[in-house]
């Protein structure tokens, strides 16, 4: 059976074939080696990146928002430490039991309770559920009492916005609230820094300066495993707080404005006539922005939204009003500048029995009995409509609109600073042709001369107009954020042809407040230190019919919506003016009775605080 030669043959075959196989093996191992080389040496960086991407998760923390300060450095929108309540489901033995306990301790509503359970289903066991954004002190201490029984529940210190002056700054600053989808889509910066629950500015300066206020996130880098569980913290990159912004506003004056506007709908703004700094700017009614921080509840929201006085509207810059007689200084100035009249130009006001008649239309003065013979000063002082009908007829709307625009009417005062700032409207013949497709008629010029008709202004525009009259007719740029100065080439550019004309207007405005028969004579301050000059205005909300004229109702007898808006523009102190103001009380009746008395109270405080402001200014420059 055993055959030596056959064995040799077999062994020859097997050795030959072994050689082939061994060559194949070497080839394969060489192939594997080159594959390893390609993966580990050549493409190492690529795979290293992929591996890091696998294992490293960045988690951004809520950035600390920059603060707002008033002119004197008081915080008006700050950051507050709040206690949040977190649950980590994984650490909880019986989730339902713990949440029921919390419900009792915190007095959570059934809806909030359900919300927690809904959220539990969405997240992984080791992730965190925020039960409460903002524990009240009472809740916090109560939870802390039971904390040893509530394993898996913890209180966490967090930072949230706070507005210490509540409704005082709402319209200037706006408010912050949780970012919604639109905020993220609209602002790349928010998208970049987004963390769940991040609060962003929704209106006002909070929104305008979102990008500088936002700050940089703290970044935590975690190593996570394949299931996304955090294993360890790799590093912690400290972010930075957003930039703090100083406003030009004086909180004391702002507070007074709020008080003066209490229970009224309207606006007050006060401006430094040289620097354009806004000293105060309040629109009433206002609301408490702190309500929005943790999501406003439905009842509060409905209350704000459905208030007929429209608290959500910043009337100072978004409200459009007929300027009424407050336009008269500009009309008079325009007439003087264009040499249509001289200060001695006289018109006979005959009262309601003999109104001005043009093409079948009648134009009444507000005073039934008429003013008799009035010149410019008397016309301004007593706000004689007949006088202004006449000079605007002579002036024409185009020349009037030119002057009005020069003084800041008809365009945005703050530029892009506030969202939705209204331009108002200063009509002229070309505008009407383009916008309405009709020719201008003389009657429209006449009523434009007393600030009715098409003309529409915002309170801030009236304030700017007054300020530019008060400073002797030089262009200024209002500002509300300190150190946010843009370089304007035409700053302090004269707006007049003849400075004497400005003086005449100033004097006329002075007489209106400080001389007998002046429309705001009752609101005068005799002390020269506080003495101010102003012009009242009463803007009709609806057309006065013959019937109304006969009835001659008192303000309180007219339904609220039909009452006239009361306006007042003023500057002071008269000798050496510093500040200008515009006051509007919606449906307040006449400017002289409602708006001007507010100015009296206002000027006292403004001028009292002038020194303080000056000294703060000196200090401020040292700081920088």
């Amino acid at each position: 059976m055993f055959d030596e030669s056959d064995n040799v043959r077999k062994i020859n075959t097997i050795n030959r074939r072994l050689f082939i196989i061994t060559a194949a093996k070497i080839l394969v191992f060489f192939g594997l080696t080159s594959r390893l080389f390609s993966l580990q040496v050549k493409q190492n960086n690529k795979y290293l990146t992929l591996s890091d991407k696998n294992r490293i998760r960045e988690s951004k923390l809520h950035p600390v928002r920059g603060e707002f300060r008033d002119y004197f450095g008081n915080v008006i929108a700050g950051n507050n430490e709040v206690y949040q309540l977190h649950i980590v489901p994984e650490q909880v033995e019986d989730f339902r039991y713990i949440t029921l306990r919390l419900k009792n301790i915190l007095n959570l509503s059934e809806r909030e309770f359900q919300k927690i359970h809904k959220k539990r289903k969405k997240i992984k066991a080791w992730e965190t559920i925020v039960v409460s954004d903002n524990l009240s002190w009472e809740q916090f201490s109560k939870v802390n009492n039971y904390l040893h029984e509530l394993i898996g529940v913890k209180t966490v210190l967090s930072i949230s916005r706070i507005y210490p002056f509540n409704e005082n700054y709402t319209h200037v600053l706006g408010y912050v609230s949780q970012a919604n989808e639109k905020d993220i889509v609209d602002n790349k910066n928010i998208k970049e820094k987004f963390v769940p629950g991040i609060r962003v500015g929704k209106t006002g300066l909070e929104k305008t300066f979102e990008n500088v206020l936002l700050g940089e996130n703290d970044i935590q880098r975690f190593e996570v495993n394949a299931y996304g569980r955090k294993i360890s913290q790799l590093n912690y990159q400290k972010g930075s707080k957003g930039q703090d912004l100083n406003l030009t506003i004086d909180t004391e004056i702002q507070k007074l404005c709020t008080e003066l506007l209490k229970d009224k709908a309207g606006s007050i703004c006060v401006m430094d006539i040289f620097s354009g700094e806004i000293i105060a700017m309040q629109s009433s009614p206002s609301f408490d922005p702190n309500l929005f921080l943790f999501g406003i509840n439905q009842d509060d929201w409905q209350l704000i939204r459905n208030n007929p006085m429209k608290p959500l509207l910043n009337k100072t810059i978004n409200g459009r009003y007929s300027p009424g007689s407050t336009i008269k200084p500009i009309v008079a100035l325009s007439a003087l500048e264009n040499e249509v009249i001289n200060p001695e130009f006289t018109v006979h006001c005959k009262g309601h029995k003999h109104p001005l008649e043009l093409y079948g239309q009648t134009y009444h003065c507000w005073k039934k009995e008429g003013h008799g013979f009035v010149n410019l000063k008397e016309g301004m002082k007593q706000s004689c409509d007949t006088y202004f009908y006449e000079i605007s007829r002579r002036l024409g709307v185009d020349r009037l609109s030119e002057t009005a625009k020069k003084f800041g009417l008809g365009k945005k005062v703050f530029g892009e600073l506030f969202e939705n700032e209204k331009k108002g409207l200063v009509p002229n013949t070309i505008w009407k042709k383009n916008a309405l497709g009709q020719s201008w008629v003389l009657g429209e010029t006449i009523i434009t001369g007393i600030g009715q008709g098409f003309i529409q202004t915002t309170p801030i525009q009236l304030c700017l107009m007054t300020a530019q009259i008060a400073n002797g007719g030089y262009k200024i740029y209002p500002k509300i954020v300190l150190n946010n100065d843009q370089q304007y080439l035409d700053k302090y550019k004269p707006l007049f042809k003849n400075s004497k004309n400005i003086k005449i207007i100033q004097k006329a405005m002075f007489s209106s407040t400080n001389e007998v028969r002046g429309t705001s004579y009752k609101s005068r301050i005799d002390d020269p230190k506080y003495r101010f000059a102003g012009k009242t205005g009463t803007a009709q909300v609806k057309r006065i019919t013959e019937k109304d004229r006969e009835l001659d109702l008192k303000t309180f007898e007219i339904p609220y919506e039909e009452r006239d808006h009361a306006l007042y523009v003023a500057f002071g102190p008269y000798k050496n003016p510093q500040y200008a103001t515009s006051i509007i009380i919606e449906h307040g009746g006449s400017g002289g009775t409602t708006a001007a008395p507010i100015a009296k109270k206002l000027f006292k405080l403004i001028i009292d605080r002038h020194k303080l402001r000056q000294s703060a200014k000196g200090k401020k420059y040292l700081d920088i």
């Binding site: 056959d6 077999k10 062994i11 097997i14 080696t33 993966l39 580990q40 040496v41 591996s51 294992r55």
Partner: protein, 373 residues
């Protein structure tokens, strides 16, 4: 039988003198490496896998040494019996086996779950080596011998495929076919059957189970389902690639430590090793396997008996095949088929089978002058 000068029993001293210590040492090194790698898969703690692997290696390594002192002729004598025994176990598995993760592969022996298909990898080599040892060159290519040898291969393969365990079945078939190759089966048969295989490939694919088709599709483009079937291979490549030249360091492989690697104890253990020890470590591991393969071939080359020679060459090819398929698989060069890395991978049956194979090789080298009739 008068020329049988060398058939007398060797003394213990002669046996030790003949002993292949290099192979023994390499196996030991590989075993120790595997225990440390297992320790790393447990996240740097001595947990279940480390303990279990350590215990198994500590039992099987001495067992291998003891078995290696059995004369090769007894292995030869018991070959058929061993094959039939394992085949019996496979049938047993098919009937009463333990099912885990969708396939019935194991026999519950109370102290361990035995996977007979792993043992079959050795048994089929042993059986065919004996079969061809007895056959003359002239009758190697006869119809009967081809039919018998193919039957020896196909029966266990079919049993294993039905478990289902395609990977192991392929490895069993290849281990068997390589014996046919070494025994001198005409090369044209191999070429013909290869051509037939290629042409019938579409037909075979239609018989594959959906998950197996998916594996092939995933192999062609792992990115098509990065979180599903492609996940393993993508993560494996990331782990290997991120290892770099010198690796991330022992116990510092983030991919495995953070559970990104699937099956890291078993089929993907090379990935972890490669991530932690880098290109250098991988090459050294490949080198270690190469030395082992070389020593096995050497044992065959010095053997007088055709049986020893055939078995050693066959077994060396089997080891090569396991290593090559496993590493190719984790490097994304082959579709994922379940094939363990010899000794390194966790798995008692595979370790047992490999150790039995080594003990036969060692026995062959001790008794290389032994003639077998």
């Amino acid at each position: 039988m008068s020329f049988n000068n060398f058939s007398h029993e060797l003394t213990l001293f002669q046996k030790i003198k003949n002993y292949d210590f290099i192979l023994l040492f390499c196996i030991l090194i590989l075993g120790i490496t595997s225990i440390f790698t297992m320790y790393s898969t447990d996240g740097g703690e001595v947990l279940f896998h480390t303990k279990s692997h350590f215990v198994k290696f500590s039992i099987f390594f001495p067992m291998m040494i003891v078995l290696s002192f059995i004369n090769i002729k007894y292995w030869h004598a018991g070959s058929y019996l061993f094959y039939v025994l394992i085949l019996g176990l496979l049938v047993w598995v098919a009937l009463y086996g333990v099912t885990a993760s969708g396939s019935r592969r194991w026999i519950n022996l109370y102290f361990l779950n035995l996977q007979p298909s792993e043992l079959m990898k050795i048994a089929v080599i042993l059986c065919l080596a004996k079969f061809f040892h007895r056959i003359r060159t002239t009758s190697t290519n006869s119809f009967t011998s081809i039919l018998v040898s193919l039957t020896i291969i196909i029966i266990p393969s079919i049993l294993v495929i039905t478990q289902p365990d395609l990977g192991t079945a392929i490895l069993i078939s290849f281990s068997g076919l390589i014996i046919l190759w070494f025994s001198g089966l005409r090369i044209k048969y191999f070429i013909y059957s290869f051509l037939i295989f290629i042409t019938s490939l579409p037909f075979i694919i239609s018989f594959l189970k959906p998950y197996q088709k998916l594996r092939i599709l995933t192999f062609i483009n792992p990115e098509r389902d990065p979180l599903g079937s492609g996940y393993q291979i993508i993560q494996s490549k990331i782990a290997v690639g991120s290892g770099g030249i010198t690796g991330k360091g022992f116990l510092k492989g983030t991919q495995s430590y953070l559970d990104f690697l699937p099956e890291k104890h078993t089929d993907f253990i090379f990935t972890l090793f490669s991530e932690e020890f880098g290109f250098v470590g991988s090459i050294l591991l490949l080198l270690l396997y190469s030395i082992i393969i070389y020593r096995i071939i050497r044992a065959g080359l010095i053997s007088r008996s055709f049986f020893s020679r055939l078995f050693c060459f066959g077994f060396s090819f089997a080891i090569f095949l396991y290593v090559a398929t496993n590493i190719s698989m984790v490097l994304g060069l082959l579709p994922t088929v379940g094939s363990p890395l010899p000794i390194m991978s966790y798995g008692g049956s595979s370790l047992l089978a490999t150790m039995i194979g080594f003990s036969i090789v060692l026995s062959a080298s001790v008794n290389h002058r032994q003639n077998i009739l």
